[in-house]
């Protein structure tokens, strides 16, 4: 079946095409088309993964374009890394498809929603299966497009339209970097194929500066897609999209594509220590910075969004410090528990009639039991409480950072881990315990369409970590097949102890601040000051970009618009007006009087004759 891996992205594509043409007649039944397609993809992915575990890397390519000595190919390959990614993407996508059936069922455009989901799943799976950078780039842009469409799904809300635009433009900056990197890479190695590129790099045929430049340019793409500092600003705003979309695209899959990109191009990054340092620092700064903003936010989805940015920073940090397995392991586990948290948040938001402020929640534990329990499992997993998935992967990252030897990065990572536990449980205690503070009583637990995906994800959030524990590094052995990366860092016992202490410390602090007394984050934030105010305003990054990039760009645009309107349009309009008014003037002379015409004709004829005489001198 591994030869048929290409079918995995094809199923959602078929669903997309069907919904494109029949969506309007299928309406709510569209969901069945999407769910069936994803289920088939998921089953096939599972088969492919097992075949890959027992077999070899399979790759299939056909020549696409040949010019000179170079040939561009297209095809697909199944490596350990993308076999795992296939499972993550298809599983989360399948569960989101199921979840959305209930979440979106009141929306008139549910068929459009499912067709977008199908297109997205196709693009993401295509990205994962791509055997060369060029093909990856094509699908990379496609997922960006789908993200734009889905963030702006409720385009009639001005915030959603603005957020979609912002997401598209911000990631575009990174994409330009990626494209430059790909072009430079082709220039330096003469190939887009991963294997050939790495062979070139390892043979030392590319000079070090070039490798560094290429790696940084490619990393720029990852920075944009994975919402790393300083291009992180789009992800929190992207929460204007429907919540299942946030779970699928902005938590589990597309934003992870950046991390996946770094993972796929890892041999290139390893070849440049400068690039690795930059990657590590960007990751660490993002992790810390986004985590700190999440500490004070009060919108349930935005807290999760900042948490996602922070966790993605963690993965990037791990990759930057040599923790290849740790970073990708965290990518996998994070996909499950973050999708769980987002779908849980979606369940809450759905029950509360689209209210997202955690200060207006509270007491949901007794009202929505399944959502609460699964959400708590997700929160425990992300906080890093053993034996849940997040504990193993986060501990792996801390070990990698510790082995990396930069104590500053390690301290940042530890603080971030602490903040993660704190803000997740601040959210949990505020929203799920205490008294209900909203104005609309929730309608109780949601239907099975919504709770079953939560339960499935909760199982994965608990169990996904066991594939790579000190008792058995199966994932590591699997992922490192065919790679020569050297030993991966494994934490010692004190590190495990430290991460447990951090996690429990963060949870404990949150309990004492919000859980025990039932305190709610203050509604009135006008008199806060200092660090708190800085965090509430997200470090003023949006304002800074607004002032430095957006306003000047808009001003330049306005200027040229005025030039266009005044000068260019002016000339065109003048010519038009002149023609029209002269036409009108001369039209008046066409009074239909035969004799006037005759007179004018004769005068004209005489004038011509007179001119001929004057010119030829017959009168002189």
């Amino acid at each position: 079946m591994i030869q048929n891996a290409w079918l995995i992205p094809v199923f959602p594509l078929i669903a997309f095409i069907i919904l494109l043409f029949l969506g309007n007649t299928l309406k709510e039944k569209s969901s069945y088309v999407g769910i069936t397609a994803m289920a088939l993809s998921f089953i096939l992915s599972v088969i492919v993964l097992f075949e890959r575990i027992g077999g070899e890397t399979y790759s299939f390519t056909v020549n696409w374009i040949t010019f000179g000595d170079s040939t561009i190919t297209m095809g697909y390959e199944v490596t350990p890394l993308n076999a795992i990614m296939l499972i993550v993407v298809t599983l989360v996508s399948l569960l989101v498809h199921i979840f959305s059936r209930e979440y979106m069922h009141e929306d008139k455009r549910i068929n459009v929603f499912y067709s977008y989901l199908g297109l997205f799943s196709f693009s993401m799976l295509g990205l994962v299966l791509a055997p060369n950078v060029l093909q990856l780039f094509i699908f990379w842009e496609l997922v960006g497009l789908c993200s734009f469409l889905l963030v702006g799904f409720w385009y009639f809300k001005p915030e959603a339209a603005a957020a979609a635009k912002k997401a598209f433009l911000t990631t575009r900056i990174g994409d330009v970097g990626l494209l430059i990197g790909i072009i430079l890479l082709f220039n330096a190695t003469g190939s887009f194929e991963y294997a050939e590129v790495f062979a070139h790099v390892e043979a030392g045929l590319v000079n070090d500066t070039m490798i560094t430049i290429i790696a940084i340019a490619i990393f720029l793409g990852a920075v944009g897609k994975s919402a790393q500092f300083p291009l992180h600003v789009w992800l929190p705003d992207a929460m204007e999209g429907p919540t299942p979309v946030s779970a699928l695209i902005h938590a589990a899959t597309m934003v992870a594509a950046g991390v996946y990109l770094v993972g796929v191009m890892y041999p290139l990054f390893v070849a440049s220590s400068t690039a690795m340092t930059i990657v590590a620092y960007v990751g660490a700064i993002t992790a810390f910075f986004a985590g700190s903003i999440a500490l004070v936010n009060t919108d349930i989805k935005r807290i999760l969004a900042y948490s996602t940015v922070s966790q993605l920073g963690f993965m990037i940090l791990a990759l930057g410090t040599g923790g290849y397995v740790a970073g990708l392991f965290h990518l996998t586990t994070h996909a499950f528990f973050k999708a769980l948290l987002f779908l849980g948040a979606g369940s809450v938001i759905f029950a509360l009639h689209h209210r997202q402020d955690i200060r207006k929640m509270g007491g949901l534990w007794s009202r929505m039991r399944i959502t609460s329990i699964t959400f708590m499992i997700g929160a425990l997993a992300i906080a890093g409480v053993p034996p849940l998935a997040g504990f193993w992967s986060k501990e792996g990252i801390l070990a990698a950072v510790w082995e990396g030897g930069d104590i500053f990065l390690f301290i940042l990572a530890v603080i971030t881990a602490f903040m993660t536990a704190f803000y997740m449980f601040r959210l949990f205690f505020t929203a799920f315990t205490g008294e209900f503070r909203g104005d609309h009583e929730p309608h109780g637990e949601n239907k099975k369409w919504m709770t079953i995906p939560l339960v499935v994800l909760a199982v994965f959030a608990i169990a996904a970590g066991f594939v790579n524990t000190p008792f058995g590094f199966w994932l590591e052995d699997f992922l490192l097949q065919g790679l020569t990366l050297g030993a991966q860092a494994h934490g010692e016992l004190w590190l495990a102890g430290l991460s447990i202490v951090i996690a429990l410390g963060g949870i404990g602090l949150a309990y004492f601040m919000y859980g025990k007394k039932g305190t709610v984050p203050a509604t009135d934030t006008s008199n806060v000051s200092g660090v708190h105010k800085l965090l509430l305003n997200k470090y003023y990054i949006d304002e800074l970009y607004q002032a430095v990039f957006v306003r000047p760009t808009v001003a330049i645009g306005k200027f040229f618009w005025e030039v266009d309107k005044g000068v260019v349009d002016g000339i065109v309009n003048f010519i038009g007006r002149a023609t029209r008014s002269s036409g009108r003037t001369f039209a008046k002379r066409h009074d239909g009087q035969l004799q006037t015409y005759g007179l004018v004709t004769i005068i004209g004829g005489l004038a011509v004759i007179a001119l001929a005489f004057v010119v030829r001198g017959y009168f002189g």
Partner: protein, 102 residues
Amino acid sequence: MVPIELVLALGAILFCIGLYGVLTRRHLVIVLVCIELMLNSVNINLVAFSSIGPFANITGQVFTLFVITLAAAEAAVGLAILIALYRNRESIDAIKQDLLRW
């Protein structure tokens, strides 16, 4: 022998009278008559050149016959048009025939 200049002057005068009539008279029958006048001025030229021109020959007179035939046909068609016009618009005043203006 009458000098050719005088004959040509007569033709020119007749032509101008005809032209003046065509351009100024409002009654379309008069306009038609004036056109006949212009045609006849041309005939005078043709006949003059045919008998006393530098290369006198019969061609001019033959042409005159053609012009007379044509004038007769033209008068018939023109009068028919005027009658049709009058039936339709109850007027053959030149100034009122302005259907083709802007």
